[in-house]
């Protein structure tokens, strides 16, 4: 007999199906790898989708230069252990102009270093299918997102021009100049991602687990100091606190939570019982209402 199909089995199978459709329909695909838990799950599913073959596309990390050091270390180890190709792209022009999250508004910084950086990389290598880990449960504009999300020649997202997706038929036929973002985790929730990390015993960046780390309190949010680049404001004190992260972005823009969960098991238990939404930790999303929708229109994945 077969074991009964759980919801994670169904989600896993759906994601694998999407990966295989993407690889079959787009001549040049890439997996957008941002090192966090969603990327970890995404990469694991990609390996399952093509096993015993390796995933037939490289990984792309759009590096802003402000990722936690632990993240970069984790990224390099993962790629080495699995024998995968990794492309690291940085918006050199933005970096040369000194666009950083310390002196610029989060929205401008994200636009230059992430959105523009992503577009540059896709264009430089001629990728027409970019696979990302976005989920529909993250935010209102994501809730309307397709699995194959079409972008115009300048990478813009137009909610009104998205193709209807019926049954499980995925139409990836490209019009002139179009590219596609592919979202295999569309129907997963944050809790599913953690349930799956636990079920599959996936290694994640240690920052998800609680440890004593140097922090400051700013605007009611706990920030961790990863290096000396964030100038302290008057009255701010560096305090060692036992913290962890629910979501990982650029370090000055990602808030931590105090936690006692030191191992994966307790992190998952804590997350399953959490009563605040994950995006609370993402300062860029609080920038203004409709921020994600606007970022998407401009080409953010």
């Amino acid at each position: 007999m077969t074991k009964s199909f759980s919801h994670l089995d169904a989600l896993e199978a759906e994601s694998i199906y999407i990966f295989r459709e993407a690889a079959a329909q787009f001549s040049k695909s890439v997996l957008l790898y941002s090192i966090g838990k969603d990327s970890t799950v995404l990469l694991h599913l990609a390996r399952k989708a093509f096993f015993p073959q390796k995933p037939p596309f490289p990984l792309l990390h759009v590096d802003t230069g402000w990722k936690f050091r632990d993240m970069i270390e984790f990224r390099d180890k993962t790629v080495r252990d699995l024998g995968l190709d990794l492309i690291v792209h940085r918006n050199e022009d933005g970096a040369a102009r000194g666009i950083d999250p310390v002196s610029y508004a989060p929205s401008l910084y994200t636009d230059v270093m992430k959105t523009q950086g992503l577009k540059q990389a896709l264009e430089r290598y001629g990728f027409n299918g970019a696979i990302g880990g976005a989920r529909r449960d993250e935010e209102a504009s994501r809730a309307k997102e397709r699995i194959f999300s079409f972008r115009s020649a300048n990478h813009r997202w137009d909610a009104r021009k998205q193709r209807s997706e019926m049954w499980n038929l995925l139409n990836g036929r490209l019009g002139t100049g179009e590219t596609v973002r592919i979202f295999p985790l569309s129907n997963w929730t944050e809790r599913d991602v953690w349930r799956y990390v636990r079920r599959e015993r996936l290694a994640v960046v240690p920052l998800y687990m609680a440890a004593e780390r140097p922090t400051i309190l700013r605007n009611g949010q706990l920030l961790m100091l990863d290096d000396g680049r964030l100038p302290l404001q008057p009255g701010e004190r560096v305090v060692n606190r036992k913290i962890r992260f629910r979501t990982l972005g650029c370090w000055p823009l990602t808030a931590a939570v105090e936690s006692e969960s030191e191992d994966l098991e307790s992190v998952v238990t804590e997350t399953l019982a959490a009563t605040t939404s994950e995006r609370q930790g993402r300062l860029i999303d609080h920038d203004q209402t409709g921020a994600m929708e606007r970022k998407k229109q401009e080409g953010y994945f």
């Binding site: 077969t2 199978a13 199906y17 096993f51 490209l174 569309s186 399953l272 009563t275």
Partner: protein, 502 residues
């Protein structure tokens, strides 16, 4: 009952609390490690019937909303202390600015041992296509109506679309019961109208439930306003509805997605079992020539399986190298699909512009994409009378019948036999956009000669290698790019093009 005291206020309503009532009763299983099922629920209703409020209520009373979200919504209480839960269902800025709902939205929540996926689709006539899209994914549909207005033309339209797209379970939520003072008589009359209406369709479940979404009566919490109602609350009904489990009992279908290779020795076919099941050692039919092969291995990264069932994503290794590629559907010889070159189908026109039969069209069925050599509209379906009126053109949001022939045989089923492999979308060959979706009513193995059949053209790989792709390997990206470019130019001139390896 939950531990929270439920006293009555002056209006006779239960005192509302900000706590998720369903979770209080079963807090220990609020987030089990494993959920048994994913149930996809389409909500459809006309503007103002209270769809946002109803979805908001389900989220508010039956799911575990984050505290920060609860706090925000609790700032919007009205004079009676009722929070405006419809605010949980906010849309895009673009939609708010234009005062319209552009698109279906997907929402997720867990209750008991189930994951619910709420597919929220705008109900207005001009959004037939959105409703059809939502319905194609739904296990069950909640049809929402305003108790004051009862069953309307719109309700019939919605039922017709649900039926067309293969939804077999519906729930009629008769909302705003408070505005008809919870009259049993009026509710029963609506229920009778509804039962009359659904008799014309193929639903296997159609229950009516009296609710008041605004305060949550009979949504996730039994109302004390209708002692005469002994049926289930909405969430009770949803917790028992079965999802599409019929797939396992249907004949075996395995649409091939790609070829997976590992070194010289391993060549497997990747895909997800659409319906039925297959075991190692069984024989499968590969194509319309009747060629068969045996299953040697069922491969996954977690180890080989002995049997794969509907929903499993696997790689099948056959007992020898056969010429099978993406687009093929493996089946059992006793119940094969139809290898059709002409079909009769019911379609929903999704595009913003009317059908233009001079345009190059492609048909996507399972994992196959095939040029359409002719398409002729034969009738338009009137969604209110369900009459099929002769027609030759079709406009956006129309539901119509058409005869379609393809440039080569495709493996397909009648939708009523195997819905998973009996549906398709039509694709604009040039722009790539999805123009229509359809379900197969009838399929024929032979070609129907049709006067307006579009001339078809076969580009051979050898020819491409000699001419425009000289010097390029036929597996290279550039070869594909050029071949597709040529095909597109020919297709835009109205030819149906097929690229063939000789």
């Amino acid at each position: 009952m939950s531990a929270v005291a439920q006293k009555s206020n002056m209006h006779g309503y239960e005192q509302l609390t900000s706590q998720p009532i369903a979770n209080l009763d079963n807090a220990t299983i609020a987030h089990p490690d494993r959920l048994d099922a994913i149930v996809r629920v389409l909500t459809c209703g006309s503007v103002d019937d209270g769809k946002s409020t109803l979805i908001g209520r389900l989220l508010w009373d039956a799911s575990d909303l984050p505290d920060d979200t609860r706090a925000t919504i609790n700032r919007s209480v009205d004079a009676d202390g009722v929070p405006d839960v419809s605010l949980l269902v906010d849309g895009l800025v673009a939609e708010r600015e234009q005062g319209i709902t552009i698109d279906i939205a997907w929402r997720y929540f867990d209750a008991g041992h189930r994951r619910y996926v709420i597919i929220d689709s705008p109900g207005h006539e001009q959004y037939t296509r959105n409703m059809a899209t939502g319905a194609s994914h739904a296990d069950v549909a909640i049809m929402l109506i305003d108790a004051r207005h009862g069953v309307k033309r719109q309700t019939r339209r919605h039922a017709a679309i649900l039926d067309l797209m293969g939804v077999r379970r519906v729930i009629l939520a008769v909302n705003k019961m408070d505005l008809i003072i919870w009259s049993e008589e009026k509710f029963r009359a609506i229920e009778r109208d509804f039962q009359q209406l659904v008799r014309r369709f193929n639903f296997i479940e159609a229950a009516a439930i009296p609710v008041a979404a605004k305060r949550g009566d009979n949504v996730a919490r039994r109302s004390d306003q209708a002692p005469w109602y002994h049926g289930q609350t909405l969430i009770e009904r949803l917790s028992e509805v079965s999802n599409r489990d019929t797939a396992i009992n249907a004949p075996f279908r395995f649409p091939v997605q790609s070829i997976i290779r590992d070194g010289l020795d391993f060549r497997g076919l990747s895909g997800t079992v659409a319906t039925g099941s297959i075991q190692v050692g069984k024989s499968v039919q590969l194509n319309n020539s009747g060629a068969t092969a045996r299953i040697r291995r069922i491969v996954t990264m977690d180890g080989d399986l002995d049997i794969a069932v509907a929903g499993n994503a696997v790689v099948l290794q056959l007992d020898a190298d056969y010429d099978v590629s993406r687009g093929a559907i493996l089946a059992e010889a006793v119940q094969p699909p139809i290898y059709a070159q002409s079909l009769q189908a019911r379609l929903v026109w999704l595009a913003e512009t009317p059908l233009d039969t001079d345009h190059g069209l492609l048909i996507r069925t399972s994992t196959d994409l095939t040029p359409v050599s002719s398409l002729s509209v034969t009738a338009k379906l009137d969604l209110e009378t369900l009459a099929e009126n002769p027609a030759t053109i079709c406009l956006p949001n129309d539901v119509f019948l058409a005869d379609i022939s393809t440039s080569r045989p495709i493996a397909i089923d009648r939708f009523s036999d195997v819905s998973e492999t009996g549906c398709f979308v039509l694709v604009d060959a040039l722009s790539g956009s999805t123009l229509a979706c359809g379900v197969v009513v009838q399929a024929h193995e032979h070609v129907l000669k049709h006067p307006s059949a579009r001339p078809s053209f076969t580009l051979s790989v050898a020819q491409l290698e000699r001419e425009i792709c000289a010097g390029l390997s036929s597996s290279s990206d550039e070869f594909h790019r050029r071949a597709n470019a040529v095909a597109r130019i020919l297709e835009s001139a109205g030819l149906s093009v097929d690229i063939k390896r000789d």
